[in-house]
């Protein structure tokens, strides 16, 4: 009996010693930690990775519940950091001297530093970027090219989108408005969202379904049930590879650009490991490996020379010069706006 309890205590001690410095707990998006890179990192540093897949909303809720504990590194989108940080301090400021900034695209680093900033301190490092736009089946909808095609009667019953905030923003651009310009004026923004809501309710009968994940997004297109849907560029390009009729289309009124980042939770137990991982993932050859695999753009400077030709082709096929200049990058979301949007989204869902 005594031997057993000693053994158990020894085991517990060993496992807790292991969890302090030799384990890095990451909460991230699916696809952001390719298994090959995980193996490489574990071999190089001896740090074991523990990965949890999530999304923006869950990431915030989980970190909020533990007041910034439970994970050593997180990957929120850059527009969802500062307002959260102001309300529930769940992250710690980034020590940019520990980040190998030479391997990061300078303009992106500056933008993320500023957008994630609270009281002059930056809270995030850019990792990858992409856009939200349209995924189109060219055989079924050869002319679909703007957000407004999501309520085009021509495609009745073959339209799908995700009922989340990017849709409201995209629809507003499709109606010729600029929602980002109203981020400083809550009243005007609310009025615009009411208009968008009405539009989407009126055109609801045209919609086949609302997709909810990358999987349902893909299934919609591969089954041929849907001609036009809102979607992420990386997914569109993955589908294009399997079926050349399907492709990502940048909407004429502007694709919505997002940047996903690295941020360190306040109670991270392995800050050193977190910085090691950030620097590892942004190393040009590793970043290029990720982009070649998942199709999303990278924030790594110098990764371009490692990119496959088909990946570069994706960008040039979907984005003309004008489309690139017209990408609407998400500014930081002001506090309280998501309450307005959420109520509007529920109204759309409830409408007949």
């Amino acid at each position: 009996m005594r031997k057993l309890s000693i053994a158990i205590i020894a085991l517990l001690l060993a496992s807790s010693a292991l969890s302090a410095q030799d384990v890095l707990r990451i909460i991230t998006w699916k696809g952001y930690t390719p298994p090959e890179l995980v193996k490489k990192f574990e071999k190089e540093t001896g740090i074991k990775l523990k990965i949890t897949y999530s999304n923006n909303e869950e990431m915030i809720a989980k970190l909020r519940a533990t007041r910034g504990g439970g994970f050593d590194l997180a990957q929120p989108s850059q527009d969802r950091i500062s307002f959260v940080q102001k309300k529930f301090p769940i992250y710690q400021p980034i020590d940019y001297s520990k980040v190998n900034t030479k391997q990061i695209v300078p303009s992106m680093l500056e933008a993320v530093k500023k957008n994630s900033g609270v009281d002059g301190k930056g809270y995030a490092v850019p990792f990858c970027y992409g856009t939200t736009g349209l995924i189109v089946n060219k055989k079924l909808a050869p002319d679909a090219k703007d957000w407004s095609d999501l309520w085009n009667p021509k495609y009745a019953g073959k339209i799908s989108y995700r009922l989340k905030r990017p849709l409201l923003i995209g629809a507003a651009f499709g109606m010729g408005e600029n929602p980002f310009a109203l981020y400083g004026d809550k009243k005007a923004y609310e009025a615009l969202m009411d208009k968008v809501t009405k539009k989407l309710i009126d055109s609801k009968k045209l919609v086949k379904n609302y997709w909810t994940s990358a999987d349902t997004q893909k299934a919609n297109m591969t089954s041929g049930d849907v001609a036009v849907e809102s979607g992420w560029d990386g997914i569109g390009w993955q589908l294009h590879k399997a079926n050349p009729d399907i492709d990502f289309v940048a909407p004429k009124s502007g694709a919505l650009g997002w940047i996903d980042t690295y941020a360190i939770p306040r109670k991270s137990k392995n800050v050193e490991g977190a910085y090691k991982f950030i620097n590892f993932m942004l190393k040009p050859e590793n970043a290029a490996y990720f982009t070649n695999k998942e199709g999303y753009g990278t924030a790594s400077l110098g990764a371009e020379k490692f990119l496959k030709k088909e990946i570069k082709d994706n960008f040039s096929r979907s984005f003309s010069k004008a489309d690139l200049d017209n990408i609407k990058w998400h500014p930081a979301v002001p506090a309280g706006f998501e309450t307005i949007e959420s109520r509007d989204l529920e109204k759309i869902k409830a409408a007949k």
Binding site: A61, T212, D225, T339, S342
Partner: protein, 283 residues
């Protein structure tokens, strides 16, 4: 203190720990937070989280919708499973009965998420049903079976009906066959036997199963989320949204409490209407 008493107190500890730590304390915490509204720096006491429920049509409408659907699905579960339970306990040979019951339990082993995805495969536009109907030449366009209230109800019914079958089977097993035979000898019709003998005897099992099915359905999130369509509304999704999309935990807590209150009220009413006692049904 006698040894017996010691054992009693010793075994009471885990029960109390469970109740207090996992049920009572979290509920008190939720209850308090449901009366708070977050300001910019501090939070104040307010009834706003509850009043907003009655002011915004979308909230109480969804709530009503959820409760009515849950009641409907509970009744449906009874209609569907009663013949099965009766067949398994009274008609089929004992040696096959346990095997058949085991077959019924299989969907429980793989978990709700997997069975729900199974229904996506069956009901989809290119799913088993639509493809076979097309092959038979009955339809040429796929029937809209998936992503509507129909598919959601099927999913909810499927994942909950076993919890009706088992308690009903237990009560039916204790029904003496000679009662049915005696009634039949005395000239009672099949319907009379069913209504006057079988149903009253099985009532505790039916109410027990009904309560479990109702609670499972009203609090389910997976089936409405995956099988529900563009117009379906389920109250748990709104609680989820309050916690995860708008970060308004206080509002979510208030909604959670409303759900708790109404489901308790419905169960209380069901007990009154059926003339059952909770103690009897619960055992």
């Amino acid at each position: 203190m006698s040894g017996n008493k010691k054992a009693f107190y010793f075994l009471l500890i885990p029960v109390l720990l469970w109740l207090v730590l996992l049920i009572i304390i979290p509920h008190i915490d939720l209850f308090i937070s449901s009366f708070k509204v977050d300001g910019d720096s501090s939070s104040a006491f307010s009834l706003e989280n509850y009043t907003i429920f009655f002011e915004e049509k979308i909230y109480w409408f969804t709530f009503l919708n959820t409760v009515l659907y849950a009641i409907g699905i509970t009744l449906l579960a009874f209609v569907v499973t009663f013949p099965v339970a009766f067949y398994l306990t009274k008609v089929v040979d004992r040696k096959y009965a346990s095997f058949l019951t085991l077959m019924l339990l299989i969907p429980l082993w793989v978990g709700e998420l997997v069975t729900i995805y199974g229904w996506v495969i069956i009901l989809g536009d290119h799913g088993v049903i639509n493809e076979s109907l097309k092959w038979l030449g009955i339809i040429d366009k796929p029937l809209p079976l998936l992503y509507n209230n129909f598919s959601m109800s099927i999913g909810l019914l499927y994942m909950s009906m076993l919890f009706m079958t088992i308690p009903v089977m237990t009560t039916l097993e204790s029904l003496d066959d000679s009662l049915i035979e005696a009634a039949s000898d005395l000239g009672a019709s099949k319907f009379t036997i069913f209504r006057r003998i079988i149903i009253p005897h099985a009532m505790p099992g039916i109410v027990n199963g009904g309560i479990i099915v109702f609670m499972l359905v009203i609090g389910d999130y997976v089936a409405p989320n995956i099988l529900g369509g563009k117009s379906n509304l389920w109250f748990t999704e709104q609680i989820y949204n309050q916690f995860l999309s708008t970060f308004n935990w206080n509002q979510g807590a208030a909604f959670g409490f409303l759900l708790l209150v109404i489901s308790s009220a419905v169960i209380w009413m069901a007990l009154k209407l059926s003339g059952q006692k909770l103690e009897k049904v619960g055992s």
